[in-house]
């Protein structure tokens, strides 16, 4: 520890502490421009130059990187220092007249104008090097650097072309003190399908209600995973929670019950070419529209088109992909109500006209029909007819860039409605991996992919497989109240089973008599439940009675008759046959 005096105040610091850090500890403010605590001090702006008196010699040094090694006196505000600072700012004002921070610092010193001729009044780069250091040392992308020498020095990219190594992290823009570097969207339009809730940093909490409510690193955007550098997040984390080499681990649990609540996928309307989704702008799915309306979305909840303007009119089309011979025959149940909600939101947030194109209004729940009435009262144009085609509005007539074609069945006419934005209420469909999951869990999935409950009326949350329960849309489209009810039910059933502490197994299952088993393993592959395994030491097969469903396929196949199906043995059946035919 060494004793330092700064502007008359004493402080004890460790060796190699910089003057700047020592001054900070004393609450003495030394101005800086090119200093950033995350980066190695570059010491080029020279604004932080202060006087150091060491053994009777006065020296001028930069506070940001001068290491204190012995007891010295520092003067940060002497006349000489202030004069140097003033001249520095005066020169920088001529170099970068548009840099606000220079003007502010100069004004603090009573400096209003510069005596030096200004070459470029719009220049705001002060050549502090923070962006370059960030890109080269912290991010490791080396996309920008200094070019040319002396007064021609400038921050540039290799050959002044768009650099290949730029990973668009925005660190340079973030660290620039004058705002000279800005990040702009290359196309400057809102891409509805790519909106997501919340900020777009590489390490974020996905959305506010996420569970667990902790940040996670998106490796595809993370600088460290692209260049091996950065790691600033772990440097600032006080609890050392961030480990970049964490990998997915496979953990094995022994469990008694599984509740399958895997939800659904959104129907992608792209194959329905006549609706123009993905071809024309401002045609969104229900989910995309919902995301945009969320207060945490990049638009802040405003309903905007791709060019950032508000739509003059919106059409909401029901039954896209549902109740459709060509896609899904079933009704997705939830769309009518959320479509009405969308109509209400549009009316609430803007002056746009709303056209509701429905086929049947399914307002089955508590208060639903009343809400539908309310929508009608809000002046939404409700048209009974399926929206069949969406094309660009080339005539330019009307308040819309798109044209929605439909048949208004109530008046018996075909209509072409010009609208600016279309919302497609797309079907709920089973997740693409539903059948795989069903196989893994030994449950059945229907032709539509929804998991099959043990009984359509009496067993909505259980499956034919003991211990596996269903909840939510994975069992079939339903809305939130119903899902919550199902969730509770499944939980209750699971708890009931677990509370018993034992499982009541079916008495019928197959058994292998070891002494007759020849180890041919024909049965192993036959079992649809993988209930038969082969014991390598004893060289015989055996049946897991808990998994066996007593179908008897293995029994019939066993060449030695080593397998017997309890309660359906060969002898019993033979006896039945005898009994019948005698």
């Amino acid at each position: 520890m060494i004793s330092i005096e700064i502007d008359g105040k004493q402080i004890e610091v460790e060796e190699e502490t910089t003057i700047l850090n020592a001054a900070n500890a004393l609450d003495i403010k030394i101005p800086t421009l090119c200093y950033n605590e995350l980066i190695e001090p570059y010491a080029v702006c020279r604004i932080c130059v202060v006087e150091v008196i060491r053994r009777k010699r006065t020296r001028l040094v930069t506070a940001c990187n001068y290491p204190l090694r012995e007891s010295v006196k520092v003067r940060t505000n002497s006349e000489r220092v202030l004069k140097l600072r003033r001249m520095n700012l005066e020169l920088l004002m001529a170099r970068a007249p548009a840099a606000k921070i220079i003007q502010e610092m100069a004004a603090e010193m009573g400096l209003e104008t510069t005596r030096f001729p200004i070459e470029n009044p719009k220049e705001s780069c002060i050549l502090c090097g923070l962006c370059v250091q960030m890109c080269q040392d912290v991010v490791g992308a080396y996309a920008i650097g200094f070019a040319d020498r002396g007064s021609k020095r400038e921050v540039s990219t290799p050959y002044e072309r768009t650099p290949e190594t730029c990973i668009l992290c925005g660190a340079c823009a973030q660290v620039c003190p004058t705002g000279h570097i800005r990040m702009t969207d290359a196309e400057e339009r809102i891409i509805h399908s790519k909106l997501s809730l919340g900020p777009n940093a590489a390490i974020t909490i996905p959305f506010r209600q996420a569970i667990p409510n902790v940040p996670r690193i998106h490796a595809e955007h993370c600088i460290h995973f692209k260049t091996g550098e950065c790691m600033l997040c772990s440097k600032v984390c006080p609890k050392d929670c961030i480990h970049y080499d964490d990998k997915d681990e496979i953990e094995e649990f022994e469990i008694g019950a599984v509740i399958v609540a895997t939800g659904f996928d959104d129907f992608d309307p792209t194959p329905m070419k006549q609706l123009g989704y993905g071809r024309y702008p401002n045609i969104l799915t229900g989910a995309e529209f919902e995301q945009m309306n969320n207060a945490g979305s990049p638009t802040g909840g405003k309903i905007v088109m791709e060019n950032g303007e508000e739509p003059r009119s919106v059409a909401i089309l029901h039954c896209i992909g549902s109740r459709d011979e060509n896609y899904h025959k079933y009704c997705s149940r939830v769309c009518c109500m959320y479509a009405l909600k969308f109509a209400h939101l549009v009316k609430e947030k803007s002056n746009a006209e709303v056209y509701q194109l429905y086929v049947d209004m399914r307002a089955f729940g508590k208060g639903y029909e009343e809400f539908y009435q309310r929508i009608l009262d809000e002046g939404v144009n409700v048209i009974r007819g399926k929206g069949t085609e969406i094309v660009p509005n080339r005539s330019g007539a009307g308040d819309g860039a798109l044209l929605v074609r439909c048949e208004d069945t109530l008046i018996g006419k075909f209509r072409e409605i010009p609208v600016d934005m279309v919302v497609l209420c797309s079907a709920l469909e089973a997740r693409s991996d539903a059948t795989d999951l069903a196989r893994k869990l030994n449950i059945s999935a229907g032709a539509d992919g929804w998991f099959i409950e043990s009984h359509p009326k009496l067993g909505p949350v259980s499956t034919t497989t003991e211990g596996i329960y269903l909840a939510g849309v994975c069992q079939g489209p339903k809305d939130i109240p119903d899902t919550v009810a199902q969730g509770s039910a499944a939980a209750a059933q699971a708890m009931k089973m677990l509370a018993q502490g034992q499982i009541l197994m079916d008495a019928a299952y197959a058994e292998i008599a070891e002494e007759f088993c020849s180890g041919c393993r024909i049965c192993n592959g036959l079992c649809p439940y993988n209930a038969i395994s082969f014991d390598e030491t004893k060289k015989v097969s055996n049946v897991n009675s808990a998994m066996c469903k007593a179908c008897g396929t293995c029994v019939a196949a066993c060449p030695t008759g080593a397998i017997a199906a309890r309660h359906f043995t060969d002898e019993q059946i033979y006896a039945q046959i005898e009994g019948i035919l005698v």
């Binding site: 649809p528 396929t553 029994v555 019939a556």
Partner: protein, 155 residues
């Protein structure tokens, strides 16, 4: 007196047995010639059952299971589907008309279909006539002859 065939039916529990139940509760009439044994799955059906039935006096055997793809045990009916043609070939080699063995798919809701299947099969067996396998004497030392000869002798 016309010949009344004795037909053994082996029905799988989940589809065909329930279908038969349905036919019953719906009061559909079908010939009483068929008496059924219930197994859990058509895949349980061992060819031995069929042979035993025929030897025990059955004139025909009808196996009913779930439609392919709908088996409650996923694939049991496919296994049955593999075994039955082989069994039929075996029967033919033995000199028994393979038409006496039939495999049909009846689902739990197909009461009517069950009725028509059983009716149809009964009539077919009636046409084919009694099997009378029990009367045949098998002398290992002196085989009775070729399959055709035995068939001919039996009819």
């Amino acid at each position: 007196m016309s010949f009344e065939p004795k037909i053994l039916g082996i029905l799988c529990n989940w589809c065909s047995y329930t279908g038969a139940d349905l036919a019953g509760t719906a009061r559909m009439k079908y010939p009483a010639n068929m008496r059924s044994v219930r197994v859990m799955c058509s895949g349980r059906v061992d060819p031995g059952f069929i042979l035993n039935a025929l030897r025990s006096g059955a004139d025909g055997v009808l196996i009913c299971g779930c439609h392919p793809g709908d088996c409650h045990y996923v694939e049991g009916n496919y296994k049955c589907m593999r075994r039955i043609p082989l069994t039929k070939k075996l029967l033919a080699d033995m000199g028994i008309d393979p038409r006496r063995l039939r495999l049909e798919w009846v689902s739990a809701s197909e009461g009517a279909r069950f009725q028509s299947v059983v009716t149809g099969f009964t009539e077919e067996i009636r046409t084919l006539g009694p099997l009378e396998l029990r009367e045949l004497n098998f002398d290992a030392e002196h085989p009775a002859g070729t399959a055709q000869e035995i068939s001919a002798a039996a009819s």
